[in-house]
């Protein structure tokens, strides 16, 4: 039997409302066939009254620059609505990718969901 290909786990978004924010858990691989859907779904979550977005990334095992572009688009829309996007606990590989692209200078990264919630005063 052939071994399973790496970074082949199904991609999913689990969305939870928390006051003026949505908390989104991204799981699996955000491969190129998923990126347009990811972009649309993240951007449409930002709206008046719910301008904050928290992306919990601990179970996201792959993302490309197009996926990061989707996160940046949501970040810019959140800022336009006087909101904030924060990322939580990315894997070492994705944290490294964010650092290489200097995205970590634009968007705050928290080690825990609790610290992201506290930063946005959600509790």
């Amino acid at each position: 039997m052939n071994p399973s290909p790496p970074f082949d786990s199904p991609f999913s978004l689990d969305i939870e409302r928390a006051g003026r924010a949505h908390i989104v858990r991204l799981r699996g691989s955000a491969s190129m066939d998923q990126v347009e859907d990811l972009h649309r779904r993240l951007v449409e979550l930002i709206e008046p009254g719910v301008p904050h977005l928290v992306l919990e990334l601990s179970e996201l095992d792959f993302i490309s620059s197009a996926g990061i572009g989707a996160i940046m688009a949501a970040h810019l829309k959140a800022r336009a609505h006087e909101g904030t996007l924060r990322m939580v606990n990315p894997t070492p590989a994705i944290r490294n990718l964010l650092r290489l692209l200097h995205i970590d200078r634009q968007i705050g990264i928290d080690d825990t969901l609790a610290s992201a919630r506290a930063a946005l005063d959600l509790d």
Binding site: N2, P3, S4, P5, P6, F7, D8, S31, M32, D33, V35, E36, F62, S64, S65, A66, I68, G69, M72, A73, L76, A93, N96, L97, L100, L101, H102, I103, R105, Q106
Partner: protein, 144 residues
């Protein structure tokens, strides 16, 4: 011939010009990496660079034209992976792509792919016409 590989020694996948179709080419390559036992960091580097090359080909090379196609050729061995991605477009000059990490460009949606290919692969070569990119990953090389 690039990176010492003859065209005839490469496997070839030709797909329509859209990202869902192009994923089929990626799936073939990732299955081969698993078969050869490539580690997670090296597989991440190759998948990332391949997606960057294909996304550039679909969107910028072929300008999302569904009548056009993407050609992916590859050779995977125990020691290294060579991948070529070509589109039907008129090409571009990689050196004219602005630095995506410059402060003034951080919020621009384009330009990150080429930088990442260079960061994660051992060697990257663009054809003079700019519509063909060759990438080499030496398995012994660490990822950034």
């Amino acid at each position: 011939m690039h990176f010492g590989v003859d065209q005839g020694d490469l496997a070839e996948v030709i797909v329509p010009n859209d990202l869902r179709s192009a994923k089929r080419a990626e799936d073939r390559i990732m299955a081969e990496l698993a078969r050869y036992g490539y580690d997670s960091d090296t597989s991440f580097a190759i998948k990332l660079s391949l997606e960057e090359a294909i996304t550039n080909a679909v969107k910028h090379g072929n300008k999302n034209d569904p009548a056009k196609r993407i050609v992916v050729r590859f050779q995977i061995t125990v020691q290294r992976t060579v991948i070529m991605v070509a589109d039907d477009g008129t090409g571009f000059s990689p050196e004219k792509v602005p630095d995506p990490t410059a402060d003034k460009n951080l919020e621009r949606p384009n330009g990150r792919g080429i930088m990442l290919m260079h960061a994660y692969m051992t060697k990257v070569w663009f054809s003079e016409t700019g519509n063909e990119v060759w990438m080499l990953k030496d398995r012994r090389e660490a990822t950034p």
